[in-house]
């Protein structure tokens, strides 16, 4: 199939960027979206132009590197997948495809479609852990039974791949779904209780400091999340935060 790509090109963090048109042909249904980008880049290299820079690594939807806004939606039109799992059969001959980086003030562009998501790392560094040393003789793993439902919910929250689609989709560029998934994972486990108060306060404060927007409950994040992280996590974080604030 033949397509017209409109791609954000930006030389580096300081330069101004713009959308550039690239016609492309010979695209097959079986190609993944990133393989289509590979074809374009191979063409650009052969023409002596600089290829389009974009983040990608595992290409199986788990590393969370993909950060493409495709036709106005993070990871493109399909649900519950990342851009690397999107296949070209979702498009048809003659389509025009807009390809932009995930946009947020807290995610500055490094080059072209590549963004800096270290804000997510800093949120987790602020408290996204359980303080336990690697002694090798912590209590036996089965010493604390955990209700299956809580364990499953904790796991569901922990499947977040940190791609930032929630931020990209949110009209306010809010990082509440991401942060709440991280808070929830620990809040649902007995091991996480000891530091729960400090954790939620520290992580929310860091999230605010990074310059993300505020949550207005539009629900776009949940719909666009490639791992289907639930809005319940945001409600849980709101509760945790309120409880923590009252506790002081």
């Amino acid at each position: 199939m033949n397509l017209t790509l409109k791609i954000w090109r930006q030389k580096d963090a300081k330069s101004k960027g713009s959308m550039v048109n690239y016609p492309i042909s010979g695209i097959e249904d079986d190609m993944s979206f990133l393989e289509m980008m590979d074809v374009l880049n191979e063409e650009l290299i052969n023409k002596g132009e600089e290829p389009v820079v974009f983040d990608h690594d595992c290409r199986e939807g788990i590393c969370g590197s993909c950060s493409l806004q495709i036709n106005g939606q993070p990871h493109g039109p399909d649900r519950l997948i990342t851009a690397c799992q999107l296949h070209m059969r979702s498009f048809k001959d003659g389509d025009t495809i807009f390809i932009e980086p995930f946009r947020a003030k807290a995610f500055p562009v490094i080059k072209d479609l590549m963004i800096d998501r270290s804000a997510f790392d800093r949120i987790q560094q602020a408290g996204g852990y359980i303080s336990v040393n690697t002694s090798g003789n912590t209590v036996d793993a089965n010493a604390i039974p955990i209700e299956k439902e809580n364990a499953d919910d904790s796991f569901a929250a922990a499947t977040c791949i940190g791609c930032g689609a929630c931020v990209a989709a949110c009209k306010n560029a809010s990082a509440m779904l991401f942060t709440s998934a991280k808070v929830s994972q620990f809040a649902l486990l007995p091991q996480g209780q000891v530091e729960a108060t400090d954790r939620v306060m520290a992580m929310v404060n860091q999230m605010d400091e990074e310059g993300f927007g505020n949550c207005t409950n539009t629900g776009a994040c949940e719909i666009e999340c490639p791992k289907g992280i639930s809005l319940e996590n945001i409600a849980r974080m709101n509760r945790e935060y309120l409880a923590a604030s009252l506790k002081g």
């Binding site: 580096d12 097959e28 249904d29 079986d30 190609m31 393989e35 590979d38 650009l44 290299i45 002596g48 132009e49 600089e50 290829p51 820079v53 983040d55 990608h56 690594d57 595992c58 290409r59 199986e60 788990i62 590393c63 296949h87 080059k111 800096d116 998501r117 270290s118 790392d121 987790q124 560094q125 602020a126 408290g127 996204g128 852990y129 359980i130 303080s131 336990v132 690697t134 090798g136 003789n137 912590t138 209590v139 036996d140 793993a141 089965n142 955990i146 209700e147 299956k148 364990a151 499953d152 904790s154 796991f155 922990a158 499947t159 791949i161 940190g162 994972q185 486990l189 091991q191 996480g192």
Partner: protein, 671 residues
Amino acid sequence: MSILDSKIPEGPLADKWTKHKNEINLVNPANKRNIDIIVVGTGLAGGSAAATLAELGYNVKTFCYQDSPRRAHSIAAQGGINAAKNYQGDGDSVYRLFYDTVKGGDYRSREANVHRLAEVSTNIIDQCVAQGVPFAREYGGLLDNRSFGGVLVSRTFYAKGQTGQQLLLGAYSAMNRQINRGKIKSHTRHEMLDIVKIDGKARGIIARNLVTGEIERHSAHAVVLASGGYGNLFYLSTYAMGSNVTATWKAHRRGAYFANPCYTQIHPTCIPVSGDHQSKLTLMSESLRNDGRIWVPKRKEDAEAIRAGKLKPTQLAEEERDYYLERRYPAFGNLVPRDVASRAAKERCDAGFGVNKTGEAVYLDFAAAIQRYGTEKAYTSGNSNPTKEEVTKLGTDVVEAKYGNLFQMYEKIVDENPYETPMMIYPAVHYAMGGLWVDYNLQTTIPGCYAAGEANFSDHGANRLGASALMQGLADGYFVLPYTIGDYLSNDILTGKIPTDTPEFDEAENQVKEHIQKLMSGSGTHSVDYYHKKLGKIMWNKCGMSRNEKELKEAIEEITALREDFWKNVKVPGTSDTMNPELEKAGRVADFLELGELFAKDALDRRESCGGHFREESVEPSGEQKGEALRDDENYKYVAAWEYQGVPQKAKLHKEALVFDNIELKTRSYK
């Protein structure tokens, strides 16, 4: 042989590790504050090592090429992690896990290392649970286990199909705690391009800041390489696009021996290649073989008709199908180990029975499982006479509950519904058992340079069993390296900070800069991918699932020629003083072009079939096992450690003899 001292402690097998820990030197907490350690790679091994070393009080610097430590490719591991907990009470023990791992590795691993691995496996689970890793649980609230890869006990802990992700996030959270304390300085989007040796010891690295292109010097008292495996040598693999051999290869060029490069695991259940555009292969968890039956058509005409799209697999009757694993290996059937299942698939496809348009795919069929589960479910819900539709519906639900996410992933990629038509699978490169040679302390042949996880030649021998890689990565990082490295560093308490303005750093930095300059100044005929794809084809065709002398020799020649062409004609656009992914790729492919040659040389040297390495010249000549892999314990019961000598094919072989005091060597039979 004499150069290689594996430093295995004396004493009975089960006591070696405890005794060793009791006898090695420690560094007191006040002195740890004056000691720096560099960790390259932040996957399970690197992440856990960095966190633990920082926790102990060392100053740790981590490096990863990804934008966050959490994105290391350990995250993609699906199935699970083994541990000899015996929670199921099914007779598991440290010894059994040790035994299964040595046997699975086709008796090409070190007894002492594997036993230690089995010992600490239980600590890993305790540690991870304490960190908040949400493993799967039963309704009673206790941890659930499943069986994996045909072993006789249920010892695999898992978190749905995302065990690697959960474990890595655990290690990453432990890292975060140390980053927050200021004990770890995390350098993301950095790539190590050389190791710096001072007085023969590893004392730092040269790294490129991938965002600014700046070449940086970093010093430390010890360097830990945990940079993963080299499977991307084959171009197409289940590895991440960025996975590379550069860190370990540079260490090899500086004097670290590279062990058993030809031991590469080719995983039997991956989604087949669909065309030339393909950039990567996707694994379908091995757990699928618990319920799926593997087959190809019995008649070649049927296979041809299927390839031409004239026949559908569901139209073939039971007797027209060849369930070749069940036929050849009645005892283990579809659950034979990975190497055996992969070779069998290749054999059928090479014989012309492949079922997709490229002829390189076999079926993995769940129809029987759906019927079996459906009937069972109908019966338990009180419907003793269900219709065919009811059974199919109920069975589909059960299969969906077990493998839903995998089936969905398959459908997204292939655009076929695997509940209705059999899945197509084909083997793909998945794991590298080979890697840097290390002694019992995980130290390479460069003093002060350690290797952990997949980057070392590891504990998996010639073949890795399912759910063992995660175990090894975390064992190395959490429980082995933090002890053994202290023994070495106890001599460094008075050394003081290592300066970076020394001739050794100058030399290494200049070399890196020249290397980059050379990459940038190719004539510009072909892109980096062009060479990578060509290399991959040579490797896959001549050093793949089955190898012979003639083709291995050809491979060496072809790779040498390709490397020469690469250095003359590669095209790297852009400049080196900015973000330039093509330059990154070029550097990695340049190293693969050297490793490939050593790989072929190692495979050529090993005239026996063992584990993932199958030599066509070494098969059982007769009897029940006729045509199966034939191991040669008399001549090849050694680790092949290669010393760099300027050109890969000139590498010098050092043999570390493997001694088996506790296990009797047997032929692996799955008949």
